[in-house]
Each structure stands twice: as structure tokens, then as C-alpha cells.
Subunit: 191 residues, 2 copies
DNA sequence: GGGTATCTACCTACTAGTTGGTAGATATGA
DNA sequence: TCATATCTACCAACTAGTAGGTAGATACCC
């Protein structure tokens, strides 16, 4: 792995567990074993670093969502995988998905990153909207209302569930919070 | 208003709009017109200040929830008022409820404050649980499942909806995200 | 091939500014 | 007189970021 990728990996872990405000170039230098000035060589300013973080993250999640959609036989399967993705992002209960971490720190983020996070949020909500539209066809989600409304609600639910689970340092809280929604998913033999 | 209360008011506003990490004693001094050292006279350390903030806030919300419960004729009315309370906390879209702000910054909070926030979260969830139990009696919430599950889900939903609305700087996003839940509330002539 | 130039990736050593926090003087009112 | 509340003037530690230098790889030209 290149040092740049290495720095991004550590920065993402720190941002997700502590928040963007709460880690410094010094932390990053300590984590990777190079000097602070060398971190600046790869990412001139912290604004550059945060933008790189969100772009990298957004690309990875977009790939994963496409993959989930392609692999699922019904909307319910895709939505179950979506929940699992956000559950797994919690790790042992000490880290958030980067989107939640960035949303929580909007004020200390450079404008370019805020815009990028907004676009990411819009993309994920659009993906959810597509799944709920699919569900309207395949009938794999119980008590379905307006897809756009469902998408907005589910996105807020998983973000809130992450926040609660991380604050309690217990990923089970995520499962509890989304249980009511999970119960609405009708799973066939193979999803 | 005493200077101590004045400081708490400004600190709460700053914590809710920017986050706890993102305001300093210097900001507080500038906001109140006294010197930084004088702020330390009232709150010796930032740990003291954050604890005072959450205690003050928890007491106010507990009062408000008791009031809401007493005034409501049915569970649906109490839950609608609960949603309104969290909606109003957003202001024009630039501030979170203190619980969300504190949950997002768990790592940079002193242990005593983390514990206090956890207790607050537990209290609010218990209140929601009580409302859903009430709903089981009065039938004012459609498609009701397990009250504890509903409480966990609703709490996560409002926290996430606040996060999304603040990030987008638009309180309407909160309304969108909770619309699906709102639709489940059966409102009588007088609530 | 040998010399020159440029690039990558790092370094030491620094700056200017901010952070939470402290010591000790001073004003004010009961 | 004495507690309360404020002040000025500091401190150590940390922040992002900069200046200037170096070892080694790569590229180009004669």
C-alpha cells in the first residue's frame, strides 16, 4: 500500500472513531510512522485530506450498493444487506460510518467537503428510493408507503441508530433500533 | 439572568450549532463580554461546563416530557408533541438537540458527561416506551409492535432526522424523515 | 555510458496562533 | 471586613502549516 493510501486508511479510522475535529496531523504521523511535515506533503491542508476521505468513501460505498443491488433477487434482500452494511460499519461499537461522522461535524468542515457529503447523502437516498420502488413491484416490503418518504425515513433511522449504538458502545443498539423496520422485510428462500 | 446562567445559555447554543469540540472559553468570553479567566471562575474546567450543560438540559427536557404527557388525551398526541419538540430544537436548521450534539462527540467528552448523556437517553427512551404502552391501551398508534422496539426505533429516527436536517440546513428534512411515523398516529378531535 | 536535471518522498526545525488553565491583583457590595 | 466576581497577565501544550534541505529513483540529452 502506498503511504498516501495508508494515511487515508488511518485518517478514516480516526475520523470515524473520534471525529474529524478530534484528530490531528500529529496523530496521523504517529499512526503511520512518518513525520508531520511528510503528511502535509501528501495532503497539503486538512481540507484536502477531508475531501479525499469523503471522495474515497463515497466511491467505495457506491460500488458496494451497486453490488448489493445486482446480487439481490428482491428489494427486501437489498435493504437487508444495506442494514448489514451500516451495522458492520460500527465495528465493536466504537466507530461510525464516515457520513454520520461528517454530518455531525458540518461546521468544522471545509465547504467543498460539505457539498460532497450532501451529494453522497443524496445518492444513498436515491438508491434507497430505487429499492422501495422495486419493492412496490415485487411486494417484498410490508405496509409500503411513498418510496421517497420511506427512503428519507430509513436513511435517518440508520444514521440515528449508528449514533445511539456508538454512544452506548454497543452495536446491538443498532439492531434494536432497526428491528421494527427489519420486520417489514419479506424474505424469500434466496435473496 | 446571572452570569452563570448567561454562560450556560451561550454554551448550549454554541454546543448545539457547532459541537462541543468546536467552541472555546474564548468564544464564551466574547459572547458574554467577560474575560476568559472569568469564565473559568464560573466553570473551573470544560468538563465542569459540559456536565452542567447536560444536567441543565436533561432537567428541562424531563419537565417538558412530563408536561406533554399530562396534557395529552392519547398517546398519539404525546408522540406528536414529542416530534414537534425535536423539530423545534432544529431552529432554522442550524442547531441540534444537545443529546445529538453530545452523542456525536462522545470521545471528547469527560466520562461523567458521557454517563449523564447515557442516563438521559435511557430516560427519554423509557418515556417513549411508556407512551407506546399507553398506545396499546388507547389504540391511537397504527400497526403497533413491541413498545420497547418502537421506542428504540423512534428515538434513533428523531436523532438521525436531526442530523440529516442540520447537515442540509433545512428543518423540512426532519419532517420528511418522520412523516412515515407521523402517519401512524391516529389523532382525535382533541389531543 | 556519463552527466545533468527533475521528481518523489521524506526529513529537521520552525512559525503563528489557539487551547484550557492558573496566579495574583482589584473592584464591589453586604 | 470579607466573600463574590471580575480583571490583567501569564503558561505549557497543542494546532495547522511552512521553509528549506536531502537521499534516491527516473528521465533526458550529448
Amino acid at each position: 500500500m502506498t503511504m498516501k493510501a495508508n494515511l487515508l486508511t488511518h485518517a478514516e479510522a480516526l475520523a470515524r472513531s473520534r471525529g474529524i475535529d478530534a484528530f490531528s496531523y500529529a496523530d496521523l504521523a504517529a499512526a503511520t510512522g512518518i513525520r508531520k511535515a511528510s503528511v502535509h506533503y501528501h495532503f497539503a491542508t486538512k481540507a484536502d485530506l477531508t475531501l479525499a476521505l469523503i471522495e474515497d468513501y463515497a466511491a467505495r460505498i457506491a460500488d458496494r450498493l451497486n453490488q448489493i443491488e445486482a446480487q439481490s433477487a428482491a428489494a427486501s434482500g437489498a435493504l437487508r444487506d444495506f442494514l448489514q452494511l451500516y451495522h458492520d460499519a460500527l465495528g465493536t461499537g466504537d466507530s461510525l460510518c464516515l457520513c454520520v461522522a461528517f454530518s455531525a461535524a458540518t461546521d468544522s468542515l471545509p465547504e467543498a467537503s460539505v457539498t460532497r457529503v450532501e451529494a453522497f447523502r443524496k445518492d444513498v437516498t436515491a438508491w434507497l428510493n430505487a429499492q422501495f420502488n422495486r419493492a412496490r413491484q415485487d411486494g417484498s416490503v410490508r405496509a409500503l408507503s411513498d418510496p421517497a418518504q420511506e427512503a428519507a425515513a430509513l436513511f435517518a433511522l440508520v444514521e440515528g441508530a449508528q449514533l445511539v449504538a456508538r454512544a452506548a458502545r454497543n452495536p446491538d443498539r443498532f439492531t434494536d433500533a432497526v428491528a421494527h423496520f427489519s420486520d417489514r422485510l419479506i424474505m424469500g428462500a434466496i435473496q
